[in-house]
Amino acid sequence: MKLILSSSNIMQAGRQSVIRQPLTQKSNVELINSLRSNFLASQQIETSPANGTANGQAVSHPPSWTLQTEDALYIPAIDFSHPGLSEERDQYDITVKLFYLPGIPISRRCAHTREAIDLVLKELHVKSIDLLIVSFPGILFDADDDSEEEDNEMSNGEPDDFDSLVQTWQVLESLHEQGVIAQLGVAEFGSERLARLLPHTKVKPSVDQINLKDCCVVPKNLILYAKQEQIQLLTHNDCHDILPVGTTRELLGPAEKSGAGILASSPDANDGIQGDIEPQWVVKYTAVVKDRGVVENKGYFASADVGSCLKDRS
């Protein structure tokens, strides 16, 4: 079964995205807190006295604050009829960052990309986005050492080799061709990797987003190469493994353990959906009013598969 988790607009919920921490610390706290907080807020509406539910056992599955459709279980239920943005489309810069997660077969990326982008378009009520940045698993930028690794084995052993990267890029190029995405970008690419990718592209990345311990020490050859190829170097502070399996289970697990009460407490318990959980992708979207620099809408969607017979990984 497919689960779609969403945070709704986190700018209006505030607190979970502002963390007192050193600038350089990467983190997925924003994602996790914003999902958790959105689940709680949705549950609170449901558990108002009139509904009289609460205590664990008697709750229906899936809970009524979620929405089961033919293709997925939405956590919480999303009502796409709300207007996404308050002004006209051309007032905004819409940036989307898609995180392909480790261990997920590359063959699914085409569908995942489409799925993630569609959710964002629906949420914001727009037909296109201005910039899509993709984050590949296993690619880590190291400011101290620009000769970044070629041996990037993914966490469970499947190599995210160069061919697959090019394949994925072609999927993105087709979205660009259809006018859904105006500009493409990558994350954490060093100059060598950029140089390898570029000859294989019809649409060049216009952005390389890097996370730096101290953003004043960018390797010189990357700066020069980016300038030469007119690739903008942007900064971010997303962490690399943004949605690990354990975190997902905790987030959706039983209410007693401050989870959302969606998943069963163990794979064979009957207090929720049974089986293993496998996060598929995470997407972050940001709509900024261009000439005022105001972030009006920002949020996350994440998709996970759950069940005893997860899709064959081939």
Partner: protein
């Protein structure tokens, strides 16, 4: 300072008779303008900084520094160049680093030893623009210097340490005790000779019925006499009736006494003005920035010396307040109310007293219960269609008398102008200013943030300017709520004066700045974002939410470090983390982020004490000077060396252990 019209300025007795008329016409102009501009929408963020300089002449042979009264010559020379620039033949035209930038603008200020410079065109929010601010400030300084005599320099100290002493601290020298200021310390020639300025000073004195009175507590060092009786005060002067002031006790024991507008309005500030997207957003920013005023005042503290003495306060604010305080004894509460209309608790130059945003989060408990309002004016504004909050704001500003009236302007009311409105508006020097769009222009609703002290280097001035800009973006993006009862802000403003308040004092601040989460199902009524783009006042109904707790539970006393960097217990997130969170949500290029990081780092470290404020640095400089006698006296020699050090600092910026590293770098290497 705005444009300087010429005309016949009325002396106070005449001006007083016309005050009602000017107020009335000002209100009609405001109403006409408000009707024209209230629907203005979707203006971009544009902002500007104003940097003010002292012009100091150095006499290296005699080791003396003096204020130079060369403002008019410098401005004339600058204007000539600006004209050449525009015609494209100037020798300083914008090339190289400043290609594509408009040449900076220079303006006169109250003091004839002052200059004000603004960027040639306003800044936007494009992050590339933010990168230009510092270099543009440096450019302004270079251009200004190029138009001065070889021994003159523009420096950004808030005040000249020896203004008003017995020696020849100005060049050319004029003796004190002129007819306009009647000061026993400074000559009339200290002020800009444009008729507006001497009239302003004279009418303030005249309305008040005596000279203005500034008593700043002296800093008691080990050899400072106790009680300290200001040795520069002359009790035997008999040129003007006001010379009696000191014989009537105007100069207080243990205080440095000053008696003229120049001691206040001769201070340099760093002011930032923002254009909001519409009136609603402008009103919101006015309210939300207000509680930050005293915090930024304490953070930028740079004024520890007056009239040759170390004082026990760190900032300029109240001195300016007292220097332009035109209140009569009745208004001050020193005499029973007979002729005047009301008691007025604050000077015209003071922290602001109103909240004006139509924000459901604005609780009635936040308002000043003692706010003085001209009810007739308020009624006129409301009859004209203005809402209660905004009408109250302007009816509060309009309790004052206009100070400088030109008789030529009283012949006919022109509703397409704003001169009478501005007469009152621009002489209400509160720490926030809400500015309606000027008639006949494209400019939108603006808000001015006025509390900051000028910093010695342009690096610091850029850092604080950009910090405030980023805070406004965080306020709008996160829908932040900094509301506290406005009297607490007034109190904080006083707190900010204390020596080393930045580290030693606590300030009232709101604990939780975040909006309450509105569940999605309840959002429909408010159209997604709480009160986004609509200008109508109908959105004032809050969505259903749990009842609010007592106001007192919403705020607490915090250190500046807590407020800027966040509370250790996680209760208040901190202004810097808020700004960084904002920056993490927008696309910022690597180079810009690096610059911004160095600015935020300066502010972070000023707040936690790693870096010194300008005030602290000056105190230490004086204390360590070989000729300092621990008697609070800042001599001519010390002042000369201080000015030289400041001049060096503006160039070397404390790098590699050069002078000022304690307030710029925090380490010697």
């Amino acid at each position: 300072m705005g444009l300087l019209a010429l005309g016949t300025a009325l002396e106070w007795p005449e001006a007083k008779k016309k005050a009602g008329q000017v107020r009335q016409w000002g209100i009609e102009q405001l109403l006409a303008n408000w009707r024209r501009a209230r629907g203005k929408e979707r203006d971009a963020l544009l902002w500007g900084d104003e940097v003010e300089y002292l012009v100091v002449a150095l006499d290296d042979a005699a080791k003396k520094s003096r204020l130079s009264l060369a403002q008019a010559d410098i401005l004339k020379s600058l204007a000539r160049d600006e004209a050449l620039w525009k015609s494209g033949s100037g020798k300083n035209s914008a090339t190289g680093d400043h290609a594509g930038e408009e040449p900076p603008h220079f303006h006169p200020e109250f003091g004839r030893f002052m200059l004000e410079a603004t960027p040639g065109q306003p800044w936007g929010i494009g992050f590339k623009d933010l990168l230009k601010v510092e270099s543009n400030m440096k450019w302004r300084r270079e251009v200004a210097k190029a138009h001065m005599a070889p021994n003159e320099v523009p420096i950004t100290l808030t005040t000249f340490p020896r203004l008003g002493t017995k020696d020849d601290y100005i060049q050319p020298y004029y003796p004190p005790s002129g007819p306009a200021l009647r000061s026993q310390f400074v000559p009339d020639e200290i002020a800009n000779p444009h008729i507006r300025f001497p009239t302003l000073a004279a009418n303030i004195r005249s309305r008040r019925g005596r000279k203005v009175e500034l008593n700043v507590p002296v800093f008691h060092d080990t050899n400072t006499p106790r009680p300290f009786k200001d040795p520069t005060v002359n009790y035997d002067l008999h040129n003007w009736p006001e010379d009696d002031d000191v014989r009537n006790g105007a100069a207080k024991d243990d205080h440095v006494y000053m008696d003229a507008m120049a001691f206040g309005m001769g201070s340099c500030c760093l002011q930032i003005t923002f254009q909001a997207k519409n009136m609603t957003e402008g009103r919101r920013l006015y309210d939300q920035l207000s509680p930050l005023g005293p915090i930024l005042l304490a953070l930028t503290a740079a004024t520890p010396i007056y009239k040759g003495f170390l004082v026990d306060t760190d900032v300029r604010w109240n001195q300016i307040g007292n220097a332009v305080d035109d209140r009569t004894p009745e208004e001050l509460g020193e005499a029973p109310l007979k002729n005047d209309r009301w008691r007025i608790p604050k000077s015209r130059y003071a922290s602001n007293s109103t909240y004006i945003s139509q924000d459901p989060r604005l609780r009635k408990e936040y308002f000043d219960p003692d706010l003085v309002v001209d009810e007739d004016i308020k009624k006129r504004l409301m009859d004209g269609g203005m809402d209660d909050l905004l009408a109250t704001h302007f009816a509060h500003l309009f309790i004052r008398d206009p100070l400088v009236i030109f008789s030529e302007d009283l012949e006919e009311l022109d509703l397409n102008k704003s001169d009478h409105f501005e007469n009152l508006q621009s002489t209400n020097w509160q720490h926030m200013r809400f500015k309606p769009p000027p008639p006949d222009s494209d400019i939108g609703w603006r808000v001015e943030f006025r509390s900051m002290e000028i910093q010695i280097t342009d690096f610091e001035n850029a850092a604080f300017s950009i910090f405030i800009v980023l805070i406004t973006r965080a306020i709008l993006s996160f829908d932040l709520n900094f509301y506290i009862p406005i009297q607490r802000t007034t109190e904080n403003m006083e707190t900010a004066h204390a020596r080393n308040a930045v580290l030693d004092r606590k300030f009232w601040f709101r604990k939780d700045p975040f909006p309450r989460r509105v569940p999605r199902s309840a959002q429909q009524s408010t159209n997604g974002s709480t009160f986004s783009s609509t200008t109508s006042s109908a959105v004032n109904t809050p969505p259903p939410s749990p009842p609010l707790g007592p106001v007192e539970t919403e705020f607490d006393l915090m250190t500046i470090d807590d407020i800027v960097n966040g509370c250790a217990d996680g209760s208040f997130p901190g202004l810097i983390p808020l700004v960084e969170s904002y920056l993490n949500s927008v696309n910022v290029d690597v180079e810009t982020r690096c610059f911004l990081a160095s600015y935020l780092d300066l502010i972070r470290k000023r707040a936690d004490g790693t870096l010194w404020t300008g005030a602290r640095w000056m105190r230490e400089f004086v204390a360590k000077h070989p000729s300092y006698k621990k008697d609070s006296v800042v001599s001519e020699e010390i002042t000369y060396d201080l000015v030289k050090a400041v001049e060096e600092m503006t160039v070397k910026e404390g790098k590699k252990g050069s002078v000022g590293w304690e307030l710029l770098r925090g380490k010697k290497v």
